[in-house]
């Protein structure tokens, strides 16, 4: 950490919560969070690459321990999807659910990396004050990107299952009825549903991971109060880490389940 500058709690937290943002054009929209992108893509490629390497030689005979573990994960995801979606889940929804679960779980798990170690490493590589956030899911861009992708897929599958006419018909005629007088009410209702789905989907994950990160940072601040504070902060940090395991896994699971539920609902006619 920087020592020549005044180190206040707010500057510490602000440093840890700033993205490594690179501008690629005019306006605030045309910029990239390099840290988020690199971390998430690296995690996705490493995790799914590892899984691919394991299942490449999958045998129907006696499985290796690695394959058995992957089959455990497979079965877990497949069971969840099977209970919700009754079409041909193997074509798209189940693989998508596995991707979401594994990827989000790994991105969430980055929260376990000690925040100041990461900061020290990044400072050592990129120089002082290099900003780097390791948890891609505490970036609203990531969660919103995932939720929006699911949202588009939802609409795509709805149109694919019911036809464009059927989908529009449903926008106006469900859930209250086909009477033209209540078309506006139906449409408003569906509009709210379509807006609220990606918002709740993305903000739930983002909020949990962001809050988790902030709590780690606040516990890290104890180190500034002396030896006793450092030890207390370490103990509380360990406790929060253990509790955070639950949140990390649970949020990944919830994100997967919502993805499956949304995609399954889109293909059911009301």
């Amino acid at each position: 950490m920087a020592t020549e500058h005044a180190l206040t709690p707010s500057s510490y937290i602000e440093h840890h919560l700033s993205f490594n943002s690179q501008s690629i054009g005019n306006g605030s929209f045309w910029s990239l969070h390099v840290d988020t992108l690199v971390m998430s893509v690296a995690l996705g490629v490493i995790t799914l690459g590892l899984i691919w390497w394991i299942v490449r030689g999958a045998t129907s005979g006696v499985p290796t321990k690695r394959q058995a573990f992957m089959e455990l994960v497979f079965d877990f995801v497949d069971d969840q999807v099977k209970n919700i979606y009754h079409g041909n889940r193997h074509a798209f929804i189940a693989p998508a659910a596995l991707t979401v679960f594994v990827w989000v779980l790994m991105m969430n798990a980055m929260d376990f990396l000690p925040v100041d170690w990461v900061a020290a490493l990044v400072s050592a590589i990129g120089g002082e004050h290099t900003k780097w956030r390791v948890v891609p899911t505490s970036d609203i861009n990531t969660t919103f990107a995932l939720a929006l992708t699911v949202w588009f897929l939802m609409i795509f599958f709805a149109i694919k299952a019911k036809g464009l006419g059927g989908w529009i018909h449903e926008l106006f005629c469900s859930p209250f009825g086909t009477n033209p007088l209540i078309w506006p009410a139906n449409f408003l209702f569906n509009l709210i549903e379509y807006v609220s789905k990606p918002l709740s989907h993305s903000l739930r994950l983002f909020g949990n991971m962001y809050a988790g990160e902030v709590i780690f940072l606040l516990l890290g601040l104890w180190a500034a109060t002396g030896v006793t504070g450092t030890i207390a902060g370490a103990i509380l940090g360990a406790g929060w880490s253990i509790f955070h395991i639950l949140i990390v896994a649970l949020q990944a699971f919830i994100f997967m389940m919502l993805t499956v539920v949304y995609l399954a609902m889109a293909q059911e006619s009301h």
Partner: protein
């Protein structure tokens, strides 16, 4: 909370990862698991079939055993009866043979007696004739007195 181009990049990354999983991760695992499930189901079915067959064949075997037992006891009874019959037959034959031998022996004895009697008679008659000859001191016409002699012989 600033939304920027990261969102688009992340969405693309997400989509690519889904497609990767869909194409390269899910199918081999699904295939392996489903093949194994089928193999296990087949194995269980074969085991069940074998068990049923074993049960049936053991039932058949015990049935055959029961039939064999009945047959064996039948044969045994028949054999006993036959043995008894043979013994009875043998007894009968032996008795008949014995009777026959005894009868033969009796007849022979009778014959022997008769013959002895005859011999004696002749000797007696010869003796009588010789005696008579001696008594009469003269030759007797055997022919003329044969009738008398025979009568004497018979009386003896």
């Amino acid at each position: 909370m600033d939304i920027n181009f990261t969102l688009v990049a992340q969405a693309i990354a997400f989509f690519v990862l889904i497609v990767f999983t869909m194409k390269f991760v899910w199918p081999p695992l699904l295939n392996a698991i489903e093949t194994r499930q089928k193999e296990i189901a087949d194995g269980l079915a074969a085991g069940e079939k074998g068990r049923a067959e074993l049960e049936q064949s053991s039932k058949r075997a015990s049935e055959a055993l029961a039939v064999a037992k009945v047959k064996a006891s039948e044969i045994l009874a028949l054999a006993e009866k036959r043995a008894t019959q043979i013994v009875e037959d043998a007894k009968g034959t032996a008795k008949a043979e014995g009777d026959r031998i005894i009868t033969g022996a009796k007849a022979e004895i009778e014959q022997e007696i008769n013959r002895a009697k005859e011999g004696l008679r002749q000797q007696v008659s010869t003796l009588a004739i010789a005696g008579a000859e001696k008594i009469l001191r003269k030759e007797i016409d055997a022919k003329a007195h044969a009738e008398i002699l025979t009568a004497i012989a018979k009386e003896l």
